[in-house]
């Protein structure tokens, strides 16, 4: 792909989408780097110095939950989710585009429901204290609605991209 990008690819919404995606990817990389370093330090402390950071491994799992919630949202934007594409790829472009649109709407509905019920859930159980770290579990559980919010956002931007892409262009 060379030459000036077609207009629909530089639409401000899609530029914002790309920027947000990059920011999230950086955040995820940093979080994962931190997890890696912490796990290694915990092992070294255990065998080298016979000690540990209380709550260290619990903290790594908490960061891991955020990486999943946010990473799954980024994967909507990247279109990289694991799926069975044998049927959809064999359809004519118009039918395929329609189906992709329906899929994005379905994902959006699911995420919206999840967002709604997760807020209700956190308001009931979120104040429960983690037995090791002594922080409210809601601080971690809130990763779910945050991830949902980004997922809904990306479902919308993908839908916009889909609508603006001329059907003749199979690369989408």
């Amino acid at each position: 792909m060379s030459g000036p990008a077609p207009a629909y690819q530089v639409h401000p919404v899609l530029r914002a989408e790309k920027l947000l995606m990059q920011c999230l990817t950086w955040l995820l990389t940093a979080l994962f780097g931190l997890i890696f370093v912490m796990v290694v330090i915990l092992v070294i402390m255990r065998y080298g110095f016979n000690s540990t950071i209380v709550g260290g491994s619990e903290a790594t799992v908490m960061m891991f939950i955020y990486t999943t919630a946010l990473g799954a949202a980024v994967d909507i934007a990247r279109g990289k989710h694991i799926r069975i594409d044998a049927l959809i790829d064999s359809l004519p472009p118009r039918a395929k585009a329609w189906l992709e649109g329906i899929n994005l709407i379905l994902i959006g509905i699911l995420q919206a429901m999840l967002l709604y019920y997760s807020i209700e859930w956190i308001s009931v159980v979120g104040s429960s204290e983690d037995p090791v770290l002594h922080i409210a579990e809601g601080l971690v559980e809130v990763a779910i609605p945050i991830g949902c919010a980004f997922a809904i956002l990306f479902s919308i931007t993908r839908l916009i991209a889909l609508i603006m892409t001329p059907l003749a262009d199979p690369s989408n």
Binding site: R46, N50, T52, W121, V124, V125, S128, E129, P131, V132
Partner: protein, 302 residues
Amino acid sequence: NFKFAHSQPDSSVRHKSMLFFKEALEKESKGRISVEVFSGSQLGSEPEVMDMVKMGTVQGTRGGAFTKANKKFLIYTLPFLYDSTDAVLKAMRSDFGTHIADAAKDNGYYIPATGVAGGFRVVTNNKHAINTPDDVAGLKIRTPGIETIIKTFEALGASPTSIPYGEVYMALKMGVADGQENPPSNISVMKFYEAQKYLSLLNYQIHPDPLFVNLKWYESLPDDLKTVFDKVSREAMEWSDEHWLASEADYLKFLGDKLEVNEVSADNRAKFVEKVRPVWDFYIQNGTFSEDEVKQAIEAGK
């Protein structure tokens, strides 16, 4: 309809006692309450199901995540607080026990009865028999990630190591840890005795097993059913305590042939109590329960 979920297998005392509960409750409520029992974490892990009980998607559970209902339950797990299982059961079934159980109502849980989750925890290792606190010092002991247990072994001068339960056997064999602590049942089932020499009856801790019920669900029952429910709950938990402790005694007998078993004398036990006192103080200072409540807990067991 009463959905009850727990994490233990169908062969466990906990499961069988809940089948007893189901039969008795369905019979005595004349079918007005039907009970469904889900075993083996089918509906989620212990803390997850605790949340479900609070949300009301599941109506009852039993398990180790009791601090989610109320941190005061930790009082039963203080090291060397009770010297016999009779004392523990007496305290749990006393007015003091009701006082602790009722404290969970603020969190949306109703607790009709509390029992014990297995027997006293004992220590095995392959260095030497443990009689005094000094014998524990310097040992590498595998512990689960439970704060009271870790703090106890730290207070005794051991170095607690966390190893996943399924990997403990190999770790003991390889000498990654010198010993471990568990009730006799776990030590037998997991074959830890194959990799250990000494079993010392420290009997330092026992875990409470409250029957958690969604408070709203309970309050929606008519009074006559409430009475039936309370009665059956108490009977089921007593059935559970009786069978659980009996099976622990059988396992201990079995281990007697495999390991060198020693008891701790009353004098030496006093030394242990002195050594772990900082663990008690830790929870008193951070406000989990008061000094007075600890005294009451001990009194209630006498």
